[in-house]
Amino acid sequence: MDDLFYLGISTLAATLRLATPLILCAMAGLLSERAGVIDIGLEGKMLAGAFAAAVTAALTGSPYLALLAGLTIAAALSLLHGLASITYRGDQVVSGVAINIIAMGLTVVLGNAWFGRGGNTPDLNPEQRFMPLQLPGAADLREVPLIGPFYADVVSGHSLLTYLALLLVPLIWFLLYRTRFGLRLRAVGEAPAVVDTAGISVLRLRYSAVILAGLLCGLAGTFLAIAQNAAFQREMTAGRGFIALAAMIFGKWRPWPAFFACLLFGFLDAVAIRLQGAVIPGIGPVPVPLIQALPYILTVILLAGFIGKALAPKALGRPYVKER
């Protein structure tokens, strides 16, 4: 029983760690898509952000400068996406895919040229990274039954960026639903012509949304490279951007449901890791591929059976052309 309790604690802690990049990317996708710009380039922006952060941390030794670099590069790629799909009205999916490919290739080529380690960056010391923080009282409260270990290992013991990600969810909800900017942003994704008629710039709104999305992706990449890991490795995002995209659709383009979808995916991943090799009485060891397919199977079942139709913003994917 005690073992099971600690297994649960460890699974919940892993859930938060695994969900952090998903939460950040899902919020990024949400902002961009609520403004009517499809963002399939989450993966590429996160990867480029991770690379920039790892390189900067290795060269300067400061995780904060690294964070700044990660944010800048990801936002720059977002601007590129904006330029192609907002200003020049290109296909938003094509532009997003291009960003993914650029990031995948460029990080390896630059990494090879600068460090000659097969695309990896040098290993970082703890002071160059965002290390887990011990919240006040975590050590003292550990002895308190039930609540103590929960506080010490699940609530405490995460990196600054994880807490930031958790804080950003209510902030983004507030931004979208309780501010004028949010109202306009949502309107521009549903009926840009109406927003334009009201005398508000569609282009400016969409650009702001896309850049905010880039910043969030940069945060996710920085987390992967210098908080969760201690170096950049080629293709280290391993499809997390796309999972975040799925979580966002799962959450029907709304912050809280998307956040819980990310937590669910993180939880399933954490469970999958701990179930591997476990023996179910009467059946034998759990097969690895089945466990790894579990998050996706569950998504299909939940989406098809329980959640219902996911309605995208009406103007999603359509470049805005001003009527003359």
Binding site: N229, E235, M236, A238, V288
Partner: protein, 330 residues
Amino acid sequence: MTAKMLAAATAVGLLLGIGHALAEPAVVYDAGGKFDKSFNEAAYNGIEKYKSDTGDSYAEFEVQTDAQREQAFRRMAQRGADPVIGIGFSQAPALEKVAKEFPDRHFAIIDMVVNLPNVQSIVFKEHEGSFLVGMLAAMASKSAKVGFVGGMDIPLIRRFACGYAQGAKYANPAVAVTENMTGTTPAAWNDPTKGAELAKGQFDAGVDVIFAAAGGTGTGVYQAAKDAGKLAIGVDSNQNHLHPGTMLTSMLKRVDVAVYDSAMAVKNGNWQAGVTELGLAQDGVGWALDEHNAALISEEMKAKVEAAKADIIAGKIQVHDYMADNTCPL
């Protein structure tokens, strides 16, 4: 003007190697790149040793995309490189095709078997080396729980895992071995985040030594071990230097020796085609002991492992090979 152009043409000719029979070895590295601190770097060290021992130069190429493999082999063969050495199992189809086109040239491939009269296939008995590091893991573990993190779930990696588990059980029959695979696609070789999470999951379950045979994913495992103050075991190259103090040892796969021997054999004229299997007896696999992990390996551990090594070579201990029948007896 003409002289300048002539000089330029000569320079281009030299760069492209036009009309120059090389008769020097060529190495085609796998996608990890020659400084991957692991498998490919071992090959690089081997060919560098050949260079310093013989004074001969060599040609090399780092594959960036799959499409380049065949081109690289053909280019090397056309330039007259001998032998042409392909590093890694993914090179097999390209090497096989090119080897057929150049029947009078010598080829070698590491980690895979290509049955052609002009190809030398060098494979390793990873299970024997893994057995030894499994023993070390079991002896170093305070909780009697040791772990394994594999990359992609393929028989080659199961062979590592099975040898490791056998070694751990041999050293301490009561030890529990936890086995995790990162994934079932090639992405599993490059997911340090998942590697770190797998390691943290095992640490939370009481494991205190983890052997990672997972390519780039292993980096995450070693880092997690360092962050948690637990022990990890490297693979292929000597990775002890990555995190001195928390790297218990590394399972060595002497790709460097294989590359060196193959190049030397052509130079000395005693090259032979066919399959070469390198195990403990040939010093093709082993475990690493250097200044970075000396403090972690006691005299007793060392003596026991060396005794087991002698027994395996003498045939007194039979290490089961997972790839022989795709099962592990444990």
